[in-house]
Symmetry: none
Subunit: 216 residues, 4 copies
DNA sequence: AATGAATGAGCCTTCATTCAT
DNA sequence: AATGAATGAAGGCTCATTCAT
């Protein structure tokens, strides 16, 4: 009638705690493996390194994609948060912008799967973490008003992130510092010195027209 | 009376002369398919869409990789050349730079396989066409002396190309004009207005001589 | 009420314990198929006749060659052992020799793959079971000292085995008893009655020490 | 290739002579290739080394097997004839037998395809050349009457040939002289010294009962 | 709830044979 | 009559997913 004393149960019958523990072991391992090898990795590799069987893995994540999604969502958030923190810690608005990119791009290099998923994000914007990132960027924009050239949008800064992220990825192996140069160039191009208007983003099939980016 | 117009013959089934035609049909189809799906395509797909049997495909290209290489080399060269031409046609040095990127990036979006291969280029520089591209960029640098900010290297411009190329690719589906904004930003960042030195690229295996790399 | 008789379960679909069962089913089937068709069999044939899927087969034997090796090693040993047993059971040394060949050759006929592998053994002596066989033969030689003609080596007897084995194989279908005649002839030729020295085996890479090889 | 005087005809229109010439070139090349690599050889290899196109090859030999048959028949005859000649040249009946085997077995080593085909001969006795060989052996038997142990049949000697042939083949690479020992042993076992009757060849499915082998 | 064996569609490649020129 | 390109059915192997215990 009362709550069953767990003391009583056989040690072998871990009730639910272990299921959660397993789930997290899987996620953690998958995060590593996906970062290393990208989404094409063999599911067996994840199961083996997690120390669980295939059945357990598939009980928690019925499809490989479910696991990948879960992991990426988590990693994405963590990544976005670390970038946000870097921005918050900065002394002035422009440093915030710079540090944000520095931090975000540094993290980007270690996550092959995030890179892959990010590349798909624009056409399939299901990654919820993207919203967090956008919020951070919007905040950065707001803080840097007057320092940023006119007309720069959140999407501009987001795309710049992805764009540089790719540069980081491909140079990570042999020229690990090279991307800093590109970042500097791009950020300089974002300064308010440049008063010429940016080209319109007038694609016919634009999802959402956004002449002005509201500061939220 | 004259030699029959080859235009007339059915595209399939024709030896000798049309073996070449077949070969080119394969290459052309493969170019499309590789652009669409990347290098992981099923060879059968290429064969089917080319209208040839597996054997024919493998007669011309003993390994899948041979086909991919052939196609990519060709596409890469064509792409680089079209970008070069755009640069040549430009009126002034800066327009040359701008037009080069415009043209190159426009072409980039439609070639998933080129993107894949390009991403590997830095670590495995086997794609000969890369050299062509570098030459073009070097020339652009030379012409734009005094307009470019000091310290900008060929590799910087090349990496910028790849970086923006990625942006083009991922926005191509839903926001096909957005990347122009990023390009403008980056190019503005490359102008000689910006006199602050770029961060050093302290990787040991630098390919290009860098005229002056200030230690910051 | 008691533990379910494993005998009762369907042969297919059963993990753990029956994984072993499956493995052995594969090996058994493969042994049959390899005996019938040699090493060129389609792996699918083995899978189908084993009642398992391709994946199962490849789980147990990552390469076709692994399966073939495993099966052949086993079959080879079993075959060698049965021949050895026949020799042991014999009443006198000469009968041992005779019975050894009888038994060995009887088994040989049904194993195309063993034949194939045996044919390669001389140039590529990787089949460990060959050593066992050699030991048996050496023992036979020792026991039959004084009955065998001088100069006969282990290799002579081994080669005779292979040689007759071939005869057995090709006559197995239509004249299944014919090889006994050849065996009798050969064994008679091995008797000590024949005192003329055998021709030298002047190959440089002799494996076995030869007591006395007269130069004829 | 075309040496024929085509003085009159257009050079391109070799009439029939060249067809024959081609056919023979194919056969000759195929003989080499089959001897080297056995019947699993790629037809292209034969075509290429013959200097003819696939179409030509297949015009002359609609199936690969047709070519193989033609070649083997020819090679088989040539081989049998050379062995017969060796027998004829011998001084006495026993030497005839010995030299016959010597010659036949020496030739055997160089013909992988003959070996393969010979192995099938007993179950599929379509190889006409086999008849020739049998005639030679019958003649040898007749000449050696009184020297051979009683009851030895043509088929015994033929099977001995095949049997030793296999030994020759597998030792050809590393112990090229070893088979002579086996030959000596077998021939000694065939001598009339051995008066014990050979086991009967009483297979139930024997094609032709042959208690006595008439000396023709 | 966990395990890991089983499944089988799908991928790259080869080669005997056919066919248009 | 010759040419060699084209064909497509296999064959070896992988891996996401299911299933019996």
């Amino acid at each position: 009638m009362a709550v069953a004393e767990p003391e009583n149960t056989t040690r072998r019958r871990a009730p639910r705690v272990d299921a959660i523990r397993n789930r997290e072991a899987i996620i953690e391992t998958a995060a590593e493996v996906l970062a290393e090898q990208g989404t094409t990795v063999d599911v067996r590799e994840i199961a083996r390194r997690s120390g669980v069987g295939m059945g357990t893995l598939y009980r928690h994540f019925p499809k490989k994609e479910d696991l990948v999604d879960t992991v990426l969502r988590k990693e994405f958030s963590r990544w976005a948060e670390s970038a946000r923190q870097a921005a918050i810690d900065a002394e002035d608005p422009w440093a915030a912008l710079t540090d944000f990119y520095q931090q975000a791009l540094s993290g980007y290099a270690r996550h092959r799967a995030i890179q892959e998923r990010f590349a798909l994000t624009w056409s399939a914007p299901d990654l919820e973490g993207l919203h967090q990132l956008r919020l951070v960027i919007e905040e950065l924009c707001a803080r840097a008003t007057g320092l940023l050239r006119p007309g720069v949008t959140t999407d501009d800064l987001l795309l710049l992130l992805v764009s540089l992220g790719h540069a980081v990825q491909i140079t990570d192996g042999c020229r690990p510092h090279m991307w800093h140069r590109l970042l500097r160039i791009s950020l300089d191009g974002l300064r308010a010195d440049h008063r010429e208007p940016l080209p319109a983003d007038t694609a016919p099939d634009t999802h959402q027209p956004r002449p002005e980016t509201p500061k939220r």
